[in-house]
């Protein structure tokens, strides 16, 4: 159904006149040009399209627009604050926790949702939370290290 969906996107009120069954991924990428959110599988199986909705990591390729009405959506473009990288972005940078980088926005946003809920996760909790985010280059080791460090730095801050 065509209607106006209102929600908060990266901190800004947004009103979208869309088919409310349309998947959030397409709206972000091709209506708004927010291409940091990636298409990887289209069925919620790989995590490349992960965004954060009300502090939960969700798959934007499998999230219809109607599901974000009245909610707060965070994409990778909204993570920097005042030109300063988020501690998770900082930690990925420092650990070179990426190779091709295609899964990276989804990885970072999944980690963000984890740290919102569990500020000091154990390694096992990180692995469990991140298990549905796929990385083909094999940066897993460094991603886990980066998330641990980001958790530490958030604790200090």
């Amino acid at each position: 159904m065509q209607r106006t969906i209102s929600f908060t996107l990266n901190g800004k009120p947004t009103h979208a006149a869309v088919d409310d069954e349309r998947m959030l991924l397409w709206f972000l990428r091709y209506d708004l040009g927010l291409t940091g959110t990636k298409y990887g599988c289209g069925e919620g199986l790989c995590g490349a399209c992960t965004v954060v909705v009300n502090n939960e990591a969700v798959r934007s390729c499998a999230t219809p627009m109607k599901d974000v009405a009245g909610k707060s959506v965070l994409t990778i473009e909204g993570l920097e604050q005042g030109g300063k990288l988020h501690p998770i972005q900082q930690a990925f940078l420092k650990h070179n926790a990426l190779q091709c980088g295609y899964c990276t926005p989804g990885m970072i946003l999944s980690a963000y949702a984890l740290l919102q809920k569990t500020p000091r996760p154990t390694a096992a909790e990180i692995v469990k939370h991140m298990d549905e985010n796929l990385c083909r280059c094999g940066s897993h080791l460094r991603i886990v290290e980066a998330i641990r460090e980001a958790a530490d730095s958030k604790e200090r801050a």
């Binding site: 298409y39 940078l93 295609y102 298990d131 094999g138």
Partner: protein, 717 residues
Amino acid sequence: MKHEEEDSRENEGMDVNTASLTRRDFLALTGSGLFLFFWVGPLELLPAQLPGRPSYSSDFNAYLRIGPDGRVTCLVGKVELGQGAMTSLPMLLAEELDVALDSVDIVMGDTDLCPWDMGTFGSLSIRQFGPVLRGAGAEARAVLLQMVAERLNVPVERLHVKDGVVTDSSTGRRVTYAELVQGRRIERHIGRVAVKPVSAFAVHGKSPTRRDALDKVTGKAKYAGDILLPGMLHARILRPPEHGAVLKHVDTTIAEKVEGVRIVRDGDLIAVLHKQPDIAEKAKALIKVEYDSPRATVDDKTIFDHLLQNAPQPQVVSESGSLTQGEKLATTIVEETYLNSYVAHAAMETHSATVTIENDRVTVWAGTQTPFSVKQQVAQALGLAPENVRVIAPYVGGGFGGKSASRQAVEAARLAKLAGNPVQVVWDRREEFFFDTFRPAAVVKIRAGLDNAGGMIFWDFKVFCAGDREAKQFYDIPNQRTVSSGGWGGENPGGLHPFAVGPWRAPSVNTNTFARESHIDTLARKAGIDPVEFRLKQLTDKRMRVVLQAAAKQFEWKPARTPSGRGVGVACAIYSGTYVATMADVAVDKDSGNVQVKRVVCAQDQGVTVNPDGSRQQMEGSIMMGLGYALTEEVHFRGREILERNFDTYEIPRFSGLPRIETVLIDNPDVAASGCGEPPIVTMGAVVANAIHDAVGTRLLQLPMIPTRIKASLQRA
């Protein structure tokens, strides 16, 4: 052709085919930047140049320019796939030019701006292209020094350079590269110049933060599907249900009624175009279509017999001693057949391309490992001269060999021409599996024997349909023969494979190493000797001994006969001049057949190391990716229908499979830098198989070692 004619006239002696960077383009690129146009003879380390084919430019200006602000631009036809060439290649140029690393910028994979390159694959960016880039930097530096010597009227020996500043050591007078050239065009060459010796290295050995990291953690990194152009249409292309299916009937009338949809057709290429990809997809689902499908002949179970029956004539790869003599002396003979299935590349970014055509000038953004080949293919498909086509490979979301073929770019170009609008093609995951050029299914048969002292006395190795790369034995066995039938790519007879196969990270070598190192382990068991000791007994290659011993030290390998019940394994390999030894520790759940790899130690000698942390990233990635083909990855098919459609059935490694990984880099300055993007992956099948054997006493002969195969092997035991 006009550009190239102009160029070849101006720059005598230059091969027309190398003139991919025209003067006009160079002007556009450099603005007021420095031109260093002096034509030189071919650099000695270049690969043989084939007549009539493009080759690496022998003019170092193709690879670098120095701006009036002193910043250096490194221009390379290589592509950043994630392997880190964007970070390591500028290190080579900074090293030879004696400029600060952070004063070097890099432009990659743009066929208008960068010199011709054959493609980004085979761990060649450092090993094979590195000497080209270093040679260019060394010669530019020598020319600049000569110019300073003339200006200051001092012998060149008195000059030294640091951070792009040339200083006369007697008087302290200084000239910077930037002020020396002042945007002037200089035409001079001084012939081949030696590159720096290892002892003079100042940049090698540093581990800078990846140059692509900031773009990638902020979402600013643009991939081919992130290029959004005014008026651009997304294409969803009609696909056959299986390879070889012939279109019988198509009815697009309902689909055409969807608002904003255009349907275009050029022969078998039928596509739905819309400004939104999801609407194009929905409209595509409304097309009524019938195909004649070929009768299924093989499937993922019968394929191995099919390959053995249809493999081409075997060729002897290497032979020494006498197998007949060896058999006579053998007291124990072990004969096995090793199998591996087709595996997919499954890069996270599917094949993507965006194309715009303006006045017969085509611009293609493509996720590709081979932008210069794509340029030719697109030109041919559109009936245009190649100079009318510019291909830009922006960030590429993983390649692993799968983006050497770039059919999507040609599709997007054809559709852009038909539509008269810019067109974007992004394959969905099903298309990605369907058109993938899989690592071939293959068979290896090995027959080998021990003499009465427990030493390997003969080795008879036959590989079918994987190719002969690194098939040759490196253990010292007096009587041996290696034979190969077929290859990993297009060198096979038609119909051998039911669909396309091609290079998959370390072509041939995953297959050959799995078989060889598994078999060596079985021989060690028969001899009753610890598998590390057994290998060292017949290993005189010093580099291999060093990596094996380094891995054992880091792993704290404790010698024991196998199976020891501990679940530890070892595997060794040589890959294009890089030596690697890997050890693993696994736990096997006998009830479920599940394997958890707990720890992997990998020691690698890649000669000179350019970027240690970059090398470790590649080693870790190889280890992690290798766990996939070892344990879970297998393409299922029925006839020519690919049954894998998404990541629900095709299981690639996940965080829950992450072992403790320790990498050991062997410092070997005596050997030129070789590749590091592939070597460890080749050991992963065997190291896990050997560790499983050590844990539970059964030998897995088929990859991947999925739980059902493990349970079946336990039941047989």
